[in-house]
Symmetry: C4
Amino acid sequence: MGNTSRRKTEHIRLCLEEQVGGEGITTGFEKYRFRHNALPELNFDEISLTTTFLGAAVRTPLLISSMTGGSELAGQINDRLAEAAERRGWAMGVGSVRAAVERGELAPTFDVRRKAPSIPVIANLGAVQLSYGFGAAECQRAVDIAGADMLVLHLNSLQEVFQPEGNTAFGGLLARIEDVCRALPVPVGVKEVGWGIDGATAKRLREAGVAFVDVAGAGGTSWSQVEKFRSADPVRRAAAEAFADWGIPTAECIREVRAAVPDAALIGSGGLNTGVDAAKALALGADLAGFGRALLEPAVHSEERLDALLERVELELRTAMFGIGAGTVPALRNTPRLVRREV
Amino acid sequence: MGNTSRRKTEHIRLCLEEQVGGEGITTGFEKYRFRHNALPELNFDEISLTTTFLGAAVRTPLLISSMTGGSELAGQINDRLAEAAERRGWAMGVGSVRAAVERGELAPTFDVRRKAPSIPVIANLGAVQLSYGFGAAECQRAVDIAGADMLVLHLNSLQEVFQPEGNTAFGGLLARIEDVCRALPVPVGVKEVGWGIDGATAKRLREAGVAFVDVAGAGGTSWSQVEKFRSADPVRRAAAEAFADWGIPTAECIREVRAAVPDAALIGSGGLNTGVDAAKALALGADLAGFGRALLEPAVHSEERLDALLERVELELRTAMFGIGAGTVPALRNTPRLVRREV
Amino acid sequence: MGNTSRRKTEHIRLCLEEQVGGEGITTGFEKYRFRHNALPELNFDEISLTTTFLGAAVRTPLLISSMTGGSELAGQINDRLAEAAERRGWAMGVGSVRAAVERGELAPTFDVRRKAPSIPVIANLGAVQLSYGFGAAECQRAVDIAGADMLVLHLNSLQEVFQPEGNTAFGGLLARIEDVCRALPVPVGVKEVGWGIDGATAKRLREAGVAFVDVAGAGGTSWSQVEKFRSADPVRRAAAEAFADWGIPTAECIREVRAAVPDAALIGSGGLNTGVDAAKALALGADLAGFGRALLEPAVHSEERLDALLERVELELRTAMFGIGAGTVPALRNTPRLVRREV
Amino acid sequence: MGNTSRRKTEHIRLCLEEQVGGEGITTGFEKYRFRHNALPELNFDEISLTTTFLGAAVRTPLLISSMTGGSELAGQINDRLAEAAERRGWAMGVGSVRAAVERGELAPTFDVRRKAPSIPVIANLGAVQLSYGFGAAECQRAVDIAGADMLVLHLNSLQEVFQPEGNTAFGGLLARIEDVCRALPVPVGVKEVGWGIDGATAKRLREAGVAFVDVAGAGGTSWSQVEKFRSADPVRRAAAEAFADWGIPTAECIREVRAAVPDAALIGSGGLNTGVDAAKALALGADLAGFGRALLEPAVHSEERLDALLERVELELRTAMFGIGAGTVPALRNTPRLVRREV
Ligand SMILES: Cc1cc2nc3c(=O)[nH]c(=O)nc-3n(C[C@H](O)[C@H](O)[C@H](O)COP(=O)(O)O)c2cc1C
Ligand SMILES: Cc1cc2nc3c(=O)[nH]c(=O)nc-3n(C[C@H](O)[C@H](O)[C@H](O)COP(=O)(O)O)c2cc1C
Ligand SMILES: Cc1cc2nc3c(=O)[nH]c(=O)nc-3n(C[C@H](O)[C@H](O)[C@H](O)COP(=O)(O)O)c2cc1C
Ligand SMILES: Cc1cc2nc3c(=O)[nH]c(=O)nc-3n(C[C@H](O)[C@H](O)[C@H](O)COP(=O)(O)O)c2cc1C
């Protein structure tokens, strides 16, 4: 097993077994509540989840966030996620394809298109790799490996700090992202990994040609917490603790980015657990709502467990829509019934 | 025992034994406090609770909310509640009369008029039944069965979702409610069952001809929580959890509905436990204050226990009125001494 | 032992042994904080506590609130309190003198003047007694019995409700208070017993001729809680629970009353425990700061314990004054360094 | 061992073993949060911590707060702190040099210059000593003993109250401070010891000629708490409890003092534990961020432990700067990315 494979497997294991959530920080969704509409004037069975993302039709406004690939276990997880996504009509991202770009024999573990012919598939690379020799060609290769419709570059500055031998040369990255956006024939997006993207940063990215932004905000998985468990260096480990509450809450990111770049496609993710969270993400302005770590344990466990979870999220989403009288995704996205909770 | 009877009995049992209150949500009454008036300038013994509801005189501004009927146990509970209500001058609603409309032999379990000749009695049906074949005739039948002065239709959208084979066709319901209001000789009201009615919805209902609104707000009994215990389907059960904090707090509903429909009769209910809660409901604008689940255990236990509870609520209400120097229900409803608690 | 004596002794015992504080309510002092002045520019040893109350000089701005009398134990407590007050220059009130007005042989248990020749002494009667036969003559008699400089009438509406055979005829009381104020040669004040007096009520009282107001606000001893322990009636006992958070917080009362009646003498009391609380009461506008139940246990225990407590309160008060650079009581009362805590 | 030595050793022991933090008060840093910048556009390895303080270059914006000296243990601690500070480029203060001014043989325990040739060293005396015979000559002697670049006078009014035979003559101190500022050839600053300096006081001090202010705010070590453990007098000990929440939170002090004296050098200290705290102190306007008690246990334990702590703080500071995209100390001090947390 190579270094990267070992790291990926360790990430999965830690996310399954340890307390890797932030501390002293939440998604911010709990600051909002839906105001019940006692007389919804619609039939529950007619509620529709179909929507579009970057011009393509999708059966649900839901996404499986970029998580894995690059080892045997990871490949099995990706297969299972892809099959479920295809069955239920969720979009799906894969984890960073870098390992497969560098070592071709890992490519099959990222090939979710094979199992998911009809849904939007998103390839993934660390944006900072653009400072370490990657360019448009490697990006295109990542897209091809996953059979993807688009590429998302992730920004993970603090993870790189806490990771042994992390790649922390973030200088000049915006120009390199701009180059990739121009060169690639598919849409290119940018995401964080759990600390969130704010409005001003989204604007800079949009002006550089990015087609979509996935906020991947704080309140869910915290990568300083994950790397804390991996680090052998006691100073680094202790320092990671001070960042357990770092990041911009997901709800705040969504609201800001939607206001700052009204014309960009927007994914709301980071700490989502239920279809009510998803409904809030959409009502705050997201086009899709993404789920990461919440899917990991079911995906590792069994097809049945994973299916039950996706089904539950959809039922919660539909029920929330029924509860406020929104029969379609556009109606949900424009609802005046999401309000801030008073303190 | 038919299906409906079994469901009714199960509801009662769950409400007696399980944690069926919402979680992460409160009535909102705790956000208000009365400002003590050290010099009330009135005699405690002369405080009067008499008031009027829809033009009729009542001895207290208190109501036993719609709860049951349709089985032997339910009939006994209704008898006990009716006797106590008659003794103390509370108004009283019965649970949904649908079962008795469909199966005449159940009618006696709803006939509270027999035990309660003088108080206002309110018949009850699910509004959504109007989408499933019920019309003015069945509504009138429900009124007759209970010997009621008026009818209340309940809106329970989310309960129907979480209930096996729930009736979820809420499309076009407003027009059907309007038809019933026009056709029936008695006043027709609308209530929720624990998620609350907001100002805008009350306005729509009022314009459709509804005579009174019972907000039945959140913070007390939560029907997603009740149905969670009944559901055999694990996905549905898990999804119900996400709605444990759903609904509009009772205090917020009362304030909004009073402002939106100043001329409609208004019942404040949902999570009331004490006469101080009732005093707050009235001071926020309600004409009557309704108690549901708080009465269930005493009613099942004994006449004495039930009487003691009603007496306690009245004593608390009188004491609160004495504490702020309000000698009558109108004075309480106009008090400037109910203020929001600072945070 | 007569009924009244038994009640007095029971009150003392309950206040010593049971949880008789309010629940869900505080004095409001915790909402304020003093902003430290690092460079006070004064010598700690020169800080002066002397002040005046209703024109008379006092050695400290501190008061022992009206508590007891009317039984042997009560008489001993009064003696001990009086001796300590005299030694340290606190003002002192006695408990309701009604029992001694009615039964002359109890008079010595209220005669604190004997032990406290130089300090201000305040006699005490329930205002509501004016609805039950008491008039100016009985008031004068109460003053004489205590050897007092002034009289305070207490308003305790809710205590009377929860007390067996309470006197609850509060109608027309203001006019009767006005008569007493006019008739008596000494200043007459009004106090609550732990639910507080607000600005509007203070204004009504002031216009009726009251010389001083003691807010006796909420957050300390709650008399519904005390009477709950005494009541044999389960309904009354249960109802008392609903009033555990009743009343206006002491800090709020002081601020309001000071603004409403700028020219009246003002005692800030209710829930004070430390000299920092006292400093806040004075900075909010009180002329004297009163301590009730906090003194009871030390007074019952020993002269030493009581003295240590009074000394501690004074040291805390002086230290707070040093901490904000206020060398005199007037400077403290005008400090800009008391601010509301942000939430 | 003399009295002073014994006191110093006891202070160290109590700070190591007892709960000497304030209660019910915090630094206020938790009210602020940094807004993550997902695209920092800089290389982590190029982040620079160099800055200047009173015109002199320093390798980090970090300071070891005045703590000790005057006994053998204290001398060893100072040596260890000085060596670490020199290695890593932190500024360093010594504890009050008074003992060594009075007894020359103690001077070596304060001579940190010997171990720390290149960093800014700050001598320390109690300001109140100026009321007890100390003047410019003694101040100069303190500077010489420590081999210091500057002197800081500490204001510790409440500590003196709770300390046996404390020096509490704070009257006229400002003029005496002014004299020292004028007479000394080195810059003179003023600090508190854990209750904070507010804007108005800083202004008075600045106008008296003080070159720098160290707020030493509340939320960290509380000296009423420390002296509580030392006091043999039960009244004084009990009174100290009432001051456990006294003082102005460090974050509030920094913001105020920066606004009130924009041209003075400013040290933000009091309760700092991490480099994220330091980053907040700097972003709020401090020139240096000071650490006191957090360093004590590591300094007593071993060189390695102390070094690891300093290294951790620096790593946290750098990571926070990376997280918001600030590559230099001036950029951090001007960041718009420090915002108040909503409640
Ligand atoms: C096991 C695991 C692996 C991940 N790997 C990647 C990755 O390779 N690339 C990426 O952009 N994000 C990765 N993420 C981050 C997620 O896409 C997501 O942004 C983040 O976990 C926050 O969402 P959550 O709180 O729903 O988990 C990973 C997350 C998990 C839990
Ligand atoms: C056992 C039980 C049965 C109920 N059945 C009905 C019903 O048949 N029709 C109806 O409109 N509401 C029904 N409700 C709802 C109540 O009328 C009330 O709106 C709700 O419980 C909120 O009030 P509470 O918090 O005081 O219980 C029922 C409530 C309970 C506890
Ligand atoms: C044992 C006890 C007896 C009291 N008796 C009287 C009384 O006779 N008259 C009166 O005006 N207040 C009486 N009070 C009320 C106090 O004067 C005071 O207003 C109240 O206790 C609130 O202050 P505290 O929280 O400091 O105790 C009594 C209080 C206590 C604890
Ligand atoms: C053991 C100890 C001794 C101290 N001695 C002094 C002193 O002699 N002079 C002084 O100005 N401050 C002294 N201080 C106060 C510190 O300089 C600092 O202002 C205070 O502890 C608050 O910072 P902290 O919360 O980081 O400890 C001392 C602090 C400690 C913990």
